[in-house]
Assembly symmetry: C2
Homo-oligomer: 342 residues x 2
């Protein structure tokens, strides 16, 4: 990818949504489903003083659309007609939607155990679903093997740099919504870390270009039951910790050893942030507190809100720190509800 | 409500989303969940030449948020603390979300038979759900009775003029996205007709103010199995036809005798449009065609896309008519899928 120099004059004032940032991303084309900037709203009640960035209002209901719009734009430029990907979650649904818009066929490799309901959105968008026996990693291996034998492109949200680069639009958009200022801190759920890393790189670019005075402290949040990056962050390790498989309502953060792990840990450390973990009870508490204040989010998103409350009560975030909590997916994305609640 | 004179100078350039139109709506305050303008995107494939307005990207996933933001803003001005409403669908979820944001308690009266899953979103937003035995009308009667005996405000999406007025923002926003021009035709699913009527009134206001040269032909779409307004439109009646109860995947259009029926029929006639009906098969065909082009919509929304194809193939809409099809709700809103498909 070409190096990118950020200048306000390179923003396209007439392009809506992500296309506005095409030249900042160093791409010629973004695919579009009409996405606009996502809401930036003030928290109330226990969240007073915090702000929320509501990424669930991207077209497919999650932040992944930033990466898909950028990656699929590039695939279109290259006249790619078929891709493979492995994801049973929001990334698969998002890639399927943008590829459908672009006329690119998608084969999606998923673990055999994935419930049909979770694959519905990708299926509506015409993705061919290929079920692979064994653990999550087997689906990834099958996708790569398919790409190697068929010549289809491996359009991986985990590995493709255009996907991560698209995540930088999160930083650019927030900076514009805040009248060209970066916040003091950003709190994000972290699984594979594409948004965490892409946002960090976006903020770095803004500072390097002299457009922002600081890079926010970057805080990532996982769940206590499964916290490979939080454990590593706590111990100062540069690699994800080995942890036993576990379940959580926050399925988006259950990623064992993502390729970005060392970079995510370094971004957290270098920015003065950290990766932390919250309990399943804290997750559901935050989910409920958001809901009764008008914000319906995926359980995965609730970990960021829970994490922000923990960081504040621990004094890591002082009360006047300008803190942005990222609500990564819409509540309509998940059928999960608090155990025992009905 | 005060009469409103539209002037471009009265638009608030700094207010995001719906608040931009406060003075055009004649209100001081709108409640906000950070909503932005919804996408306006070109159709592809069989929809080439049509455009879509993607209302499913309002905060709660449906167009109802336009009405809720306006109505709840007014309730807040009046320092209302408790409201009642009757809706088991998108209107109830939307009102619950905006009232939650405003700190207004909601009691939602629903038919006893309503599935729990359909009430989940309103429940997350803290609405108290009151189940009422009998048909849909019994829930409405119970809400009105509760309001009369308790002094709570009946915040009805069907009856409250602020709710309908909020729908005018659909016309204003589309007019701005089209560089201050109204389209030739608009195609909308019609149940109670609040969006149909609010949009029509918005376009009328724009023309009266000299800001638009025309009012679009307004086409409403229902399903053949239950088409009280389409039957009336066909026969030239000024009242909704009596039709037998029926089911459809497009549950949003299954409204028997809405208060707005005469006004909706008159708006369709006066604008040179009509209310039509499409088959359940056509609905699902359109749902599938949208999906494989990147647009995942509620079955109710698919009736508008199906209706637009019918109007074009019948020659009612000529191919160069600038036609906007309203996709009223996000696909994530509904768990329904085509019978026999899965």
């Amino acid at each position: 990818m070409p190096p990118v120099a950020l200048a306000v004059s390179a923003l396209d004032p007439d392009a809506p949504g992500l296309a506005r940032y095409a030249r900042w991303l160093g791409v010629d084309t973004l695919e579009s489903l009409g996405e606009r900037e996502t809401p930036y709203v003030a928290g109330t009640g226990p969240f007073a003083g915090l702000s929320f960035k509501v990424e669930g209002l991207q077209p497919t209901g999650s932040f992944k659309d930033r990466g898909s719009a950028t990656l699929v734009g590039r695939l279109s430029e290259l006249a790619v007609g078929h891709v493979v990907e492995d994801s049973s979650g929001n990334a698969g649904a998002s890639l399927a939607a943008y590829c459908a818009r672009a006329g690119i066929a998608v084969r999606l490799f998923v673990p055999e155990s994935t419930p049909v309901a979770k694959l519905r959105q990708a299926a509506v968008h015409g993705a061919e679903i290929v079920r692979v026996p064994g653990p999550r990693e087997a689906a990834g291996a099958a996708a790569i093997e398919a790409a190697e034998t068929s010549g289809e492109v491996y359009a991986s949200h985990l590995w493709n740099p255009y996907f991560t680069r698209g995540m930088s639009t999160f930083a650019f958009e927030l900076w514009e919504q805040r009248h060209q200022q970066a916040p003091d801190a950003v709190v994000i759920p972290v699984g594979a870390g594409t948004l965490f890393l892409g946002a960090y790189q976006g903020f770095l670019s803004l500072r390097e270009a002299g457009l922002a005075a600081r890079v926010p402290r970057m805080f990532g949040v996982q769940v206590e039951a499964f916290a490979p990056l939080a454990r590593a962050s706590e111990s100062g390790s540069k690699q994800a910790a080995n942890v036993a498989p576990a379940t959580s309502a926050a399925d988006g953060v259950l990623v064992a050893n993502p390729p970005n792990a060392p970079a995510v840990l370094e971004a957290a450390r270098a920015s003065g942030g950290a990766i932390i973990a919250v309990s399943e009870a804290a997750l559901w508490d935050a989910h409920g507190l958001l809901g009764v204040r008008g914000l319906f989010v995926e359980p995965t998103s609730a970990v960021a809100a829970a994490g922000a409350l923990v960081l504040r009560s621990a004094g890591v975030l002082v009360s006047d720190a300008e803190t942005v909590v990222v609500l990564t997916g819409h509540g309509l994305k998940s059928a999960a509800s608090r155990p025992g609640s009905g």
